[in-house]
């Protein structure tokens, strides 16, 4: 695993992409002062910008549920989660802006004017409190698995250092998710029905969060330059193995008619989902998901409503 050791003084340069690739393959970490290839800079930037946008949009959604959270303790949890997500976005925008591709304001304006992307799960509406439980239990876990895989071998130093804290905090959110699920799953029949309905809405978006299968070989620059350490389908498969039995254990049904358990000759079993329809994911990436327009408008309104604060502080 790449370490979080201090960067060397002064920037480094590589003669060509092959030499840069050898540096990456040998476990090298890229630092801001390095003369990194432009392709790498663009890919890392786009990835961090997407992550930052997702934290911000996620935080704004969680904030909406603070008044609706049942009980003072869960309000406290949602308040803290909101601060966490917005704080993560803040740190990530700092790292992204420093890469010199777009300024922080440009990134925010692109997001609020619908020109940027953010995680598919934030393009859907949470209808009931049970949706928040499903998000905390299922979606946060999927995001955690995917972020942990980025952290594991990430080659961009400042991003990896921020991810260390983000992953630790998302792990903490997952415990809240488990606690919330336990409460609703062991509750009344009405609560059970509520959660089942939420699961029907959130299962596929959670499974799709990992993204479509990675291109074959080393065609994916994110894998080649070790921004991501694992292929999308590998992470998704591991996630399905963990969450299908957990949800079955609480008596819930996975909304997938083709879901099956297969055992090979050695007795090793695995859960296989039905074929994934990627159209909903693609729609969210065009900001054309069921709740995309409202979410982006709400975020944009926040930005314009708080302009006076930025002016006062300038």
């Amino acid at each position: 695993m790449r370490t979080l050791a201090a960067p060397p003084a002064g920037g480094r340069a590589w003669a060509d992409l092959d030499e840069f690739q050898s540096f990456i393959d040998a476990g090298g970490m890229v630092e801001p002062d390095d003369d990194m290839p432009d392709e790498y800079r663009q890919e890392v930037f786009r990835f961090i910008e997407f992550h930052a946008n997702s934290e911000l949009m996620g935080g704004l959604t969680e904030r909406d549920w603070i008044p609706h959270a049942p009980g003072i303790r869960l309000k406290q949890v949602f308040l803290a989660k909101t601060q966490d997500e917005i704080g993560h976005a803040h740190l990530l925008y700092m790292v992204a802006a420093d890469m010199g591709v777009k300024t922080r304001t440009e990134m925010l304006e692109d997001l609020f004017e619908g020109r940027s992307r953010f995680h598919n799960v934030f393009h859907y509406q949470a209808v009931t409190w049970a949706d928040q439980v499903a998000i905390a239990f299922l979606v946060d876990a999927a995001a955690f698995a995917s972020q942990r895989a980025v952290f594991a071998d990430c080659t961009y130093g400042p991003y990896k250092r921020v991810l260390k804290r983000i992953v630790a905090e998302e792990g903490f959110h997952m415990r809240h998710g488990e606690e919330m699920l336990l409460r609703i799953a062991t509750g009344t029949p009405t609560q059970h029905e509520m959660f089942q309905a939420a699961l029907d809405r959130w299962w596929w978006p959670a499974v799709q969060l990992f993204g479509p299968d990675s291109p074959p070989g080393d065609a994916d620059p994110l894998l080649r330059w070790k921004i991501k350490s694992e292929r999308n389908e590998v992470l998704r498969h591991a996630y399905v193995q963990k969450y299908v039995p957990l949800l079955h254990g609480y008596g819930f049904e996975i909304p997938d008619d083709e879901l099956r358990h297969e055992t090979d000759e050695d007795g090793n079993g695995q859960w296989l989902t039905g074929e994934i329809d990627w159209e909903p994911l693609k729609a969210t990436m065009r900001n054309g998901g069921p709740d995309s327009a409202r979410r982006i408008r709400t975020a944009a309104d926040n930005w314009t409503d708080t302009a006076w604060v930025r002016e006062a502080l300038a």
Partner: protein, 164 residues
Amino acid sequence: MTSTTTLNPERVRAAVRDAVATVPDPEYPDVSIVDLGLLESIDVDRERSRTTARIGLIPTFGGCPALSMIAADVQCAVEAVDGVDRVVVDWLAGPVWTTDRMTTTAERALSDDYTVVLRRKDGGLRCPVCGSDDVADQSMAGPTRCRSVAWCGACRNPVEVMRS
């Protein structure tokens, strides 16, 4: 857990302390809450052949969402101590937590592993990544109530600062 033999209260107390020290902070999975200065008191009382361990903890911030989780983890760890029949975990209203309560072990772990530092007595900040003093405050609010955000101009990394 009921013990068949009566253990020396001092030894029970030491075992309770060791058990509390195994509990990590939920947001720093490898840093002990004892090193973070959350443990204030341990009282071991024996009454009518039942031993009660009462653990007094100090929150870094009131309203911290991790409190009930930490209390549950402490409860669980101390219940496993031989010679303890009953565990009571209290969050104390005082003394107020400050970064002075942290041990150097915690300070080093936060700095080396999490890029989180303490403010020096002179108000300055030292970058945990490159060691430069060229670290400027950015915003009072960070991802958690107990941290603010700064930026190292030398190595161009965000730095978080423990607040108290």
